[in-house]
Structure formats: C-alpha cells, structure tokens
C-alpha cells in the first residue's frame, strides 16, 4: 500500500487564531501544574521510573533470598511475600501502564498526529496528579503497621483479607485505595488520548496514515478503558468485604479454628473480574510496545514497515480477542472444566495475529539498510525476547499443558520474558530514540551499548533457564525450596547464578540513569531530525517543541508514515508533510 495525496484545496483550514491566554505565564503553571501534554508526559515518565526503581530493588531482595536462602536474616516469609506483591503490582500497573500510556501517549500522540496538544489539557493535568497520589498512597503502605500487603499481585480472596497474610491490618486498604485512585486518574487520561486520536488529527492524517506507535497506544487505551472498570469494581467489593464485613467474595470459612462471620460469597468471582482486567492488561502493555518497535525498526532499517495494513488489523484483532481469553489464567482454579475448551481455543487463535507481527518485523529488516543504532538494538532485543515469551505462552495457553506448569517457575519465566523484559526493552529503545526530540541532545552511544548488551543478554540468561526450574516442578511464590525430593541440588546453583546475573543487570540500569542525566547537559546536539525520520514529531519547527508544538501553521500530511528509500527520491526518507512533486509518477 502506498498512500500519497497531492492536493488539499477542497478542505478548509479550520484552526482558530493563537490566543495569548492559552500559554502558561508562571514557572508553576509551566513546569508543575502544567497543562502541556509534553510536560505531563515527562512528569508521568519520571514518576513511573522512580517507583519502578523501588520495584527493581525489591526484585534484588527477592533474588537474594532465592539465590542464597538463609543468608539474609531480614528477609522472612512475610517480608518476602510483601516484596513479591509490591514488585509485581508496581511493575505492571504503576510502571508499565503509566509509562506507555501516560508517558509515551502524552508525548507522542499530539506530536505524531500534528495536534497542538491533547483535547482536554486540564483533565490531562488532573490525570497526572491523581496518578501521583495513587503512587504516594501505595508507597505509604511500606510505612504502616504490618507493612504492605503480601497477598501476591493477584490479591486473591479470601487470603488477601485474612490474618494469615502479611499486610492484612492496613496494607491491603492502601493497596486497594491506590488502585482505585490509579483507575480514576487513568480514565481521565485515557478518554483524553482516545478523543485526541479520533478528533484532533491534522489535515491529511487519516487513520490509515497514523504511525503504528499511535495505533498501538490508541488501541491499548481503548482496551484499558474497557478493562479497568472490572478491576475497579473488584477493588471496591473487596474493600467492602474487608472494611464492612460484606461477603461478595467470602464463603463460610474456618480460620485457625474460628468460624468467621462471612458466608455465601464466591472467591472465583473475584478471579473472573481480576483476569477480565488482567488479560487485556497484558496487551495494554504489549500493544504500545508493538507499535513503538515497528517504528524503530522501520526508521533505523531505512525501510517501510512490511505489511502496514496487516499490522494495523493485527493490533485491532489482538485487542478484540484479548477480551475473550481471560480464563486461561484460571485453568486449574476449579472453574467448570468445559471452559477449558473454549479458552484454550481463543488463546491459541490469538497467536496467529501475534505471529504475523513478528514476521513483519523481521521481513522489514530483509533487504533493508540496517543501522545498528542503540534504539535498533533494543528493538531487536524486543523481537527475540517477545518471540521467546510468546512461544512459551503456547504451552500455558494450551489447557492441558498448563495443568502441570501452572503456578510453577515456568509461569514466572514466561510472563517476565513476554511482558517484563520485552516491553522494558521497547521502552528503552523508545527513550534512546525520542530523547533527542525531548531534550535536543543525543544520549551517549557508548553507555547505550553497554546498557543494551548487559540488559538484553543478562535478562535472557535470567529468564531462559528459569523455565526449566518450572518444568521440573518448582512452584512459584516459595521463598525457599526447602526439602523437595524431586529437585536436585544443582537447582540451588542455578538459583544462585540467576541471582548474580540479576544483580549485574540491575546495576546496568544505573548506567542508563546516569546517561539520562549526563546527556541532558553534555550530550551531542541533536538537531531537529537526527534519525532522518519521516513522522511528524521530527518535523517540528524547533526542538524541543514549545507549547503548542507547531508555531504558526499546523503541518499538513500528504503521505503515510513509512516513505523510506522511495525509488527516485533524493533522500532515503520523505517526511509525511512533504507534498508530492507535481506530476511525479505514483
């Protein structure tokens, strides 16, 4: 598909004049309570990365315990479960979701679509501040009596609110309140992204000319708006069960010899609600990564993305299917066994559009002019880890294969590879790619190379062997193996090896953080379009773009986002806002 328009005479220019009132006047309204999507994006990203560092440190503590059980006396079973719970929840919700949608969504949607800002800037600002509040409430649970909840990030009742679980006193309240706040804040932002994509595209930017990054973020936002309400009601009902003694999820039960006053509720109901949110959540994280990686590969291989229309339809199909696969997380939950047939089938069907995306990324490299820049390396790292994690998903999605593997380290290895490592690599690639637009300076290449190789090879060395622990039968969420007749002593050594590598990978992230700060002052000047890319954000009149993005005139789009190496063109890229030369053959 090649999509170029020559003229726009029949469409009226519909933009109102620039109003002085619209721009911020004080330091506070410009940098703190800012309504500029780009500033909000940076606020979201910095907050998400800060809380992400907390979760990273928690993972080190967990790994220390698993690799060298007994050496670290300050880690007991209760604290271990608290670390594991907070690590999971922070990484999935407060880091990945917030960074992809709140961070990249805010920065890239207006710039890539040729808009001046989000359509509801004030709501956008509120969204960030409510997100920050949610993060603070979550962090507060570390300092309450009893500490944060240790129920696992899935928060399954009944144990989440019973006394056998750490953090039952107050940590669980703060966790649920924080989630509710997050969802409120996200809904404000999410409506904003969807309306902006649908209503504020510049002239010529048809839906089928949008860069795949925007398709990914847009579809993920729609998923999130439909999926988060399920988590919202689950959190509210669980709060009521804990605070007021209602029994939405609580059956009659005997705790430590005492019959509690609950009765008639259904623990399985919570699991359905949780995973009705939880599975789309995987794609809320994955779809923006798909989009970003498509654009990185196309730009740095100087070649149009292969099969653009198929890529768009694959994103939409995956998004739709992701709502009818949730119970594959519940094959051994005790739900009706006949569900297994349906959910295994839908789950494996989703592999087809996903595989097509992988093929198209690799086929984009075929006969390209591949520049092995740091963003490109991260994109390649994403493809390999995502491919690996996606394929192990075919084990766990195929209901009967899931029976021995569920709740083992195989599951841990699988989801870290597919929705931990892979999206994080995409995020790093995206940061190396767009940092020059955000700051006007390049990130240091040598530090970037070190960061990439240690992170990619290290993460692979952590999670690939971990599958085999699970295959052997080592359960997840055990703070130590203890006596297990079927586990050979060499498994302890493998655990120690994984821990050492995890620490090395963790420290490599410090190189990245240093690079972010150092390059801000010392990085090479980037210019407006250092990667010679076609999309609109690289065509702004000034870099970094000011409030309002485009100066006097909005750009007009004449072509799709992937005109790289067009035969006959002078340069190997043609920006989206460059008109076709009069009389040129199409």
């Amino acid at each position: 598909m090649v999509d170029v328009t020559r003229e726009f005479q029949d469409i009226e220019r519909a933009e109102p004049e620039d109003v002085e009132l619209y721009h911020p006047h004080s330091w506070i309204t410009k940098y703190v309570f800012s309504q500029d999507a780009k500033v909000i994006a940076i606020q979201y990203s910095v907050t998400a990365m800060a809380i992400g560092m907390v979760a990273l440190v928690l993972s080190w503590l967990m790994r220390l315990q698993l690799g060298f059980p007994g050496y670290f006396t300050f880690i007991d079973p209760a604290t271990y479960y608290q670390f594991i719970t907070m690590h999971g929840m922070i990484m999935v919700i407060y880091l990945l979701t917030a960074l992809f949608l709140g961070g990249f969504g805010n920065y890239l949607i207006p710039l890539m679509l040729g808009a001046r800002d989000m359509v509801f800037p004030y709501l956008n600002m509120l969204s960030y501040w409510i997100y920050l509040l949610a993060v603070l409430v979550l962090v507060a649970s570390f300092f309450t009596p009893g500490g944060p909840t240790g129920a696992g990030w899935t928060l399954y009742p009944p144990q989440v609110i019973l006394s056998g679980t750490p953090g039952q006193e107050s940590g669980v309240f703060l966790m649920l309140v924080s989630l509710v706040l997050f969802i409120v804040g996200f809904t404000m932002g999410g409506l904003n992204y969807v309306v902006t994509v649908l209503q504020a595209r510049t002239r010529g930017m048809t839906l089928m000319r949008m860069p795949l990054t925007i398709w990914g973020i847009f579809t993920a936002t729609v998923l999130a708006l439909l999926a988060f309400p399920a988590l919202f009601v689950a959190c509210i009902m669980l709060l009521l069960d804990r605070a007021l003694g209602t029994s939405f999820f609580m059956p009659t039960l005997v705790e430590m010899g005492q019959t509690l006053s609950y009765g008639g509720g259904s623990p399985i109901l919570f699991q359905h609600l949780f995973w009705f949110f939880g599975h789309p959540e995987v794609y809320i994280v994955a779809l923006p990564a798909f989009g970003i990686v498509s654009d990185l590969i196309s730009t740095h291989a100087r070649k149009n993305i292969f099969g653009y229309r198929m890529m768009v339809w694959a994103i939409v199909a995956i998004g739709g299917l992701s709502f009818i696969v949730w119970a594959h997380h519940m094959y051994v939950s005790g739900m009706h066994p006949m569900f297994g047939f349906f959910f295994a089938t839908t789950t494996l069907i989703i592999a087809v559009p996903t595989a097509i995306k992988v093929y198209n990324w690799v086929l984009t490299l075929w006969r390209g002019d591949i520049h092995l820049t740091v963003p490109m390396l991260f994109a390649i790292g994403f493809i390999i880890t995502f491919l690996n994690g996606g394929l192990t998903g075919l084990f766990l999605g195929n209901v009967v294969v899931d029976v021995p593997l569920s709740d083992t380290m195989f599951v841990v290895a699988h989801f870290h590879m597919v929705m931990g490592v892979a999206p994080i690599l995409a995020i790093f690639g995206a940061i190396y790619h767009w940092y020059p637009k955000i700051t006007g300076r390049m990130l240091d290449e040598a530090m970037g190379q070190i960061h990439f190789w240690v992170t990619f090879l290290g993460a692979y060395a952590i999670f690939f062997p971990m599958h085999y622990l699970g295959l052997m039968g080592v359960p997840r969420r055990y703070h130590e193996l203890g006596e297990m007749a079927f586990v050979p002593p060499s498994a302890e050594e493998l655990n120690a090896f994984i821990t050492v590598v995890a620490l090395i990978v963790g420290f490599a992230q410090l190189v990245f953080l240093f690079n972010l700060v150092w390059s801000l002052f010392r990085g090479r000047e980037a210019g407006g379009n250092p990667w010679r890319a076609t999309t609109l954000e690289w065509q702004t009149p000034t870099t970094p773009p000011p409030h309002g993005n485009w100066g006097k005139e909005l750009p007009v789009v004449y072509r799709w986002a992937y005109d790289y190496s067009v035969p006959g063109a002078a340069e190997d890229f043609v920006p989206q806002n460059q008109p076709a030369p009069a009389g040129a053959a199409e």
């Binding site: 079973p77 056998g164 229309r309 009967v400 029976v403 060499s490 050594e493």
Partner: protein, 351 residues
C-alpha cells in the same frame, strides 16, 4: 566508531571475559562450565574484533561491516537449543497415567523450538546480510499479500497441531472414569487432611459450618454414608497403585492447590466449593505434596507426602483406621491411633 567508544566497549568485553572465567571456575555443574566458556570466548572475540578494526583504521582500509551483532543473536538461538538438550533440569519421572500431558508438551517443544530457531536465525542473517554500508539503499516493498497469506496459513497449521492433541487430552482429563474410587483431600492453613470412604465406598456430606475440634473436617454426623468414613491428619496420604481415583478437593479457609509433581495433575481448592481431578498412580513410591496456590505466610511450608502402595497393603492399612462414627463415640484423636504414631513430617513449623 569513535576512539572512546571503542575503549569503553573493549573494557566491557574484558569485564565480561572475567565474569565468564569466574562462572567457568565455579563449574559446580557442567552447565556453568559451558556458559562461562561461551561468555569468555565471546569476550575474546569482541576484543579481537576491536584490535583488528583499530589496525584496519590505522592502515586506512575501509571499515568492515560489524558482524558481532548478528553473531551474538545467532549465539542466543544456538545457545538456547544447546541448553535445552544439555539441561540437567527436566521433569521428574512420571508416576501417573498423565503421560499424554508429557507427550503434548514434547510436541509443543518441537513446534515452538523450530519456530524460534528459524525466526532468530533468519533475523541474524538479515542483520548480517543487510547491515549498513555506504551507498546501500533499502528496497521499497510495502506489502506482499501472497507471502502474508502463506505465513498466516503456516502459523495456523502449527497452532492446530498443538491445540488438537491438547484438547483431546483435556477431554480425557475432564472425563472421570465410572469406576474411579473417591477420596477427599482437605487443605487448611497450613496442613493437609485426608478422608477415605469406608466400606460403602461413598463419602458422606460435609459442611464447613460443622467444623469443630472433634470434627476437624466438618462431616455431617446425620449422613449415614459418612459413618464409616476414615479421616486422617498429620500422616502421609496413602493411595493404591493402578486404580483410577477421583480426588475431591476442599478447603476450610483460603485457596490452596493440591500438587504432586510426579502426578502432573493439580487443581485449586476453594472454600465453599468441592473441586476435583482424576488420576491413576502407576508406580509405587513416596512423593512430595506441595501447595501450589499462595495461601499466606506458611505457603512454602505446607508440605505433605503421598505414599503409593500395592492394593493389598493399602487395604490392610485402611482396615486399621478408626471410622468417623467410632471416633465420634469417644476414641482419642486419630493421629495417636494411627500406626505411624506421632509422625508429623507433614506438619508446618509455622503454625
């Protein structure tokens, strides 16, 4: 490539070389030796590449394209396959009829393994063959319907090849044989209890509301089917070999999951509901019982053991156990009456 960058990367390669040597020196297990050696050789190769590039530059030769990246990606694919075949970590020898599940896993390993290797090798080839060189220009080919169609069909065929056997085995898994004997396993924080049907072969009704010190599993005293039931706590689970069993699962407090790795089958236990799976133990021996669903701080300590024995041995043991009705009439606690006496291997130390 600038000078500083080369030195930085060279320094990194040296560090990696040392890490590789360190790992190889530990060599507590063969796999570490190989991983260490591979890392070390990769580091040596990198340094060699830098030295050669430096000489080439000094002599004014044209820069050779970088082959390190495609080679590393190739090494990831090859290394994964080698690891798979050399790995000493593999499933425990099976002790039940669910060898079908293992076979389905093997089919899945082959299909996904071939797909993974093929795609990564192709990716590495693209990086090698189409790396940037001065004057190269990418081809312009927006899409190819035919290629996309055949790739879709091929993927669909692979998916069907995994799903079809999976669903067939699942239908066996959910179809409990008529002749299966019932047995009940009850989970609570953090121990296992077991109930066997007596002479009548039927388990009596139970209700969590009836749980008390004298009736730890909440059996209904008014149900005649339950009178001859045998309840045991704090001892190993005993099962007869070569007989299909319908394992009924109950929980008194939170979610648990009855998991014996050698049986392959597992299922959650939910308070307020009876769940089940079926299994036929196929060899005698003693195996670990683990809890596989997070159930609070004692989760990892919630252990037990199952002893699979010959039918005659099993029956002889079962005969000796007091029935529920007998217990209700004033016998002492079950544990002290069992032939194992106070054996408490399964007890959690947390409780």
């Amino acid at each position: 490539m600038s000078q500083d960058r080369r030195w930085l990367l060279g320094g990194l390669a040296v560090v990696f070389g040392f890490v590789g040597l360190f790992l190889a020196s530990r060599a507590g297990h063969g796999i570490f030796y190989w991983i260490g050696l591979i890392v070390f050789l990769a580091a040596v190769g990198t340094i060699f590449g830098f030295v050669r590039a430096a000489f080439d530059e000094a002599e004014g030769k044209a820069q050779t394209p970088q082959h390190l990246v495609p080679l590393t990606m190739l090494a990831v694919a090859v290394g994964s396959v080698v690891f798979h075949f050399l790995s000493p970590w593999w499933w425990s020898p099976i002790a039940s009829n669910w060898g079908y599940i293992d076979q389905t896993i093997i089919i899945t390993f082959w299909i996904t393994g071939v797909a993974f290797t093929a795609i990564v090798v192709f990716l590495a080839y693209c990086l090698y063959r189409f790396g940037h060189q001065a004057g190269r220009r990418a081809a312009y080919e927006p899409e190819s319907r035919r290629l996309e169609f055949w790739l879709t069909m091929g993927t669909a065929a692979g998916v069907v090849a995994m799903l079809a056997p999976g669903l067939i085995v699942w239908s066996q898994f959910v179809t409990v044989p008529e002749e299966a004997a019932e047995i009940e396993i009850v989970g609570q924080q953090w121990q296992w209890s077991f109930r066997y049907p007596g002479e009548d072969g039927r388990l009596g009704r139970s209700d969590t509301r009836l749980v008390s010190n004298d009736n730890p599993l909440g059996l209904d005293p008014n149900d005649p089917n339950g009178a001859d039931d045998v309840v045991v706590q704090n001892v190993d689970l005993r099962l007869p070999v070569d007989r299909p069993l319908k394992v009924l699962l109950r929980s008194l407090d939170v979610l648990h999951d009855f998991y014996v790795p050698e049986f392959r089958a597992k299922m959650d236990m939910i308070p307020g509901t009876v769940t089940y799976f079926w299994v036929e133990p196929t060899r005698t021996g003693t195996f670990d019982i683990l809890c596989a669903e997070l159930c609070g701080v004692g989760h990892a300590y919630m252990r037990g053991r199952v002893e699979v024995m010959e039918e005659s041995q099993y029956q002889a043991w079962l005969q000796q156990q007091p029935t529920f009705a007998a217990l209700a009439n004033g016998y002492a606690r079950v544990t002290s009456r069992s032939p194992d006496g106070g054996e408490a291997s399964a007890r959690s130390s947390v409780r």
